[in-house]
Symmetry: D2
Subunit: 342 residues, 4 copies
């Protein structure tokens, strides 16, 4: 069976990544692509790398006939997404890639995003889209909220450690090196090639990054008590990928065991032998996440490093993984492509 798919907001990077991945999907077919400002254009006017594909032209959302659509990916900007989703047919399955439905608590949403949520009635129905930990809920969900890409990376490291009780919850430092596509195709000075080449800098420092809302929500729920981590992302001169280094208080062997155990049967999460560390390029353009554990020379402290591609496992690949579950397709369908190296 082939399911008909709409991608709302197809002109951004996560939209283009969805199209790329769906090109190889055995049972999904792109039936509609929308882009408000690009409506009327062919997709290959916006993304010439898709020139060989036979794709519908970009339209406005209002021009999509949703009666024909089995599932919609919503790759719209934050805040826009909630306004659109609340007006979609209530029977339509939706995977949202924006930040709009990640936080359960409207007050938390307002705190981190600076404005009240405009779809508070459907907010409780959304399932948090970290597939490996919400699989059953996702299968049954009508609306799944894709996670932040940084939030996914950090949780892949920390959830099993919190669950297993092998680290000190009050001493978690998460230092991220992130590639530039996480910021999307937006025209900002610090994203220019000439500015970023040979550069590196921290941003949203001191606990201001919005993905902390997700960390707080998820880790506190998991631990049954408030958990606050330190989280500092740094932009580096790369296009795709996140490398997260976690500094934790805990024994490396127990940590490694907890991770290896948690991900034993996971098709996309690969835990390296203890003492080995992953490299960002080893997962590029794929849905895989590699995790490594190393004991620090200071007894009782460990370093855990995880890496994934922010556009794939951190966003569009995760979205398809969730959509597979929602539609009753094999979870890995369309997602087993090997990373592109070099």
């Amino acid at each position: 069976m082939t399911y008909k798919i709409a991608i709302l907001g197809a002109s951004g990077y996560t939209g283009a990544e969805l199209v790329r991945l769906l090109a190889g999907h055995p049972s999904m077919e792109i039936a509609a692509l929308t882009g408000e400002r690009k409506a009327g254009l062919a997709m290959d006017d916006v993304y010439p790398h898709l020139r060989h594909m036979d794709l519908p032209a970009l339209t406005r959302i209002e021009d999509v006939d949703f009666s024909d659509i089995d599932l919609a990916f919503c790759a719209l900007p934050h805040a826009t997404s909630q306004a659109v989703i609340k007006d979609l047919p209530s029977t339509l399955k939706v995977v949202d890639l924006s930040a709009d439905f990640r936080l359960r608590d409207p007050a938390e949403y307002e705190k981190w995003y600076g404005q009240p949520h405009s779809a508070v009635d459907i907010q409780p129905t959304a399932v948090y889209g970290l597939t490996e930990f919400y699989r059953d809920d996702i299968k049954a969900a009508r609306l799944v909220a894709g996670t932040g890409c940084n939030a996914a990376t950090g949780q892949f490291i920390l959830r099993p450690l919190i669950a297993a009780g092998v680290i000190d919850l009050d001493r978690i430092v998460l230092d991220l090196k992130v590639a530039v596509s996480g910021a999307g195709r937006s025209l900002k000075e610090h994203l220019l090639y000439g500015e970023l080449e040979d550069n590196a800098f921290g941003y949203s420092l001191g606990g201001k990054h919005r993905h902390l809302g997700e960390f707080d929500q998820e880790f506190s729920k998991l631990a049954g008590r408030p958990v606050k981590i330190q989280f500092t992302p740094h932009l580096i001169p790369a296009t795709r990928g996140i490398l997260a280094t976690a500094y934790v208080d805990g024994e490396a062997s127990a940590i490694h065991y907890a991770l290896a155990d948690a991900y034993l049967n996971e098709p996309f999460i690969k835990v390296l032998p203890i003492g080995q560390a992953p490299a960002m390029k080893h997962v590029r353009a794929s849905n895989f996440c590699h995790i490594g554990v190393v004991a620090d020379r200071i007894e009782g402290r460990s370093i855990v490093i995880a890496t994934l591609d922010n556009l794939t496992k951190g966003s569009s690949g995760q979205a398809i993984q969730n959509a597979n579950l929602m539609l009753g397709i094999e979870e890995t369908a369309g997602l087993m492509s090997a990373p592109v190296y070099p």
Copy 2:
């Protein structure tokens, strides 16, 4: 039906790219991987990005049981390849990715590669692997010689123009911008990150590049008289891709027509509307080639620009395309993945 595949010389970039592409191939299965200096290692020791795959360990060639193999890709270094291939079972289908069987004339081989050919008896049996132009021969071949990546790019531009008689054969300038993976994983100073970042330079200048042997052979055969082009490759700070700019004497409209006509039904070669030019990143990690034609302000002169990924369409993708034909599989099988962008 699933064919059993051996990759000889799997530890280089073209070997790794073959594995990546075969991971998504519906009817090929990797049965053997060899790497003389890495024999005994798991493939993911050499290429950790393949960690999720269930692959045979690297062995020596002498340890492969070829009776079990339907087709071997030979991704060995130049000169090594001919020594190995002449000892392979004569019934085994072989796609060679080295330069060893590209030139028909042993004297030409010796001129460009500086040593006599050591397998002169099987040299005539090899078919030149530029799929779009040798399709029927390839279907019937036992041994196919993959083309040079630069040679492929240049021929995709020039063959239809020579065949159609729309350009002056004595005034062809081909200026290439090539990414670094074309040089393989070899340890050379000018390939270091610190040396190549913010750098660009010509190499093999003045007609010394070995791919000229291929150009001379193919263009002269096609034109029925000697054709010599000017060809200057430049290394640029990029990992994958070739962008070739051809300066020719000929009318842009006739040139565009000849190209559009030649590639009308080709699944991988896309001719852009006249006046548009391709970008290297638009074909990255894919088997596609984009070609654009622009009229120069000087009447009767035109610029034709083509781009492809040297590791895919320029090498391992082309090899699989040829293997598909040799095995009677759909030509595009395993090769329709969309380019990775950004």
Copy 3:
């Protein structure tokens, strides 16, 4: 003696490069910096890399007291520059880095820049700022028009060859590989890091690049008859630098002699031994230009490659070199810093 300098339009890349170079200049002192949209800001708010310098804050042009200024560098956008310069005190020496005063003929200006010139009365007084060829005029000039960075690179190759009569004037192809800072700090999609990494593409194809106006003017004047070259720039993933490859009909030895002879005593132009080619990174962040000549395998044809840093020798360094001459300072003052490598 120390001269007081104003930089009008200091918030762009060429403005920042002027400040960087003047930081090491023995006899110039920055007395005023302007930036209309950034007026009121400190220079290190706009360019934190200048944090250690004691610089005047950015002001509006109308707030500069020019009676105090010996020379103004005008690093304003095209078209703005002419509007500003015509209102500056007529006794003030001005080096303009924009395109506004490069073309002598108002009709040519209008043809290439799409609008009539608004300062036609002072246009004839401007001297074309290619120092090595207009040295005496520049010494006596009140207004010097900095050349285009691509135009400078191409002329360093071609002027001596045209002057010496050693090439065919009707068969000149100039293929440029240019780094991204030539486009300035402007917010355009194709200048984003994620778009340009692993990318390369031609632009202004077919003779549409505005620097052709300069080539036409200068080469025709030099040759005493119309000369039209083919000129195709390509953007590559690099921040600083231009590498120009010229394909010419002429003997390499005569070409090399003409270049070596022309630049024998030039402090900034270095002609390599025949057969050697320059690399873009070898002149990075410096005022030097390296030129190499190689004979093609086709008799009577040659390849000449030149490289310079577009922001230094191609723009701000050239401007200071000209200012030195205008003020009677040693021509090389402040400009002999070695390139930054790696």
Copy 4:
């Protein structure tokens, strides 16, 4: 007065950087350059970017007449350096850029470098070359040991905090993002362009990096008790620069005050206003170090980020700063060039 300088081991990156910086030094003159494997070559055969300089050819160390030399920079590989320095005239002033004389304790040296020190008699005479903290000793020294580039960056952050007693000495995490030139011009697979582009990974994980020997020695001495930090360097796709992120337990205001106070009159160390963070490119190719302090959202915790260019302030610039002091020259001579941006 002009001092005559020898650079031993001029063919590596730190050697080339010394030449670059000395090109602009008002009172040092390069009298000898050595390179054992490149002896006999001109310096511009090895580094064509120095083509414009009039430099002595590379010789063997044994061919240098040291009677003529006022000071030698020793940019030799680790271990080689000690063997060479012990045989240099005892009156010759030496700045060593290797790791050989950084550690006071021969046992510590052997522990970190895996072999006994071969010049134990002169080891005690060496002064640790972190200029800002050993200025008086350096002025009087005959032999100064340049610091590790990572070690310098970390100490610029942590020394004032340890001295002021404003942080918890048992909870210091130092996460570094380092550019590739720190590894020198060595031919290693992971330093290739194709491998490092779009990549990032930790190395020497868990406390194995040799610069920890320097941190342990210096911080313990300063604190008067053993201090062990956690230190994890990560390679990123950049050529020059180190960005160090320190996670400390301490109040941001006290930390900022301690840093601002310590560096108030330092010409090269710039402390940013509290809450601001530095960017690696803002110090590129310069001798400056920028430091920023941000309070974490968790009370009592702070993030301190510092950046410098590993080849300049982290190595060759520091070496010249020290040489200036040893020769009684102005400390900043030859070192005030502005960073190269973009």
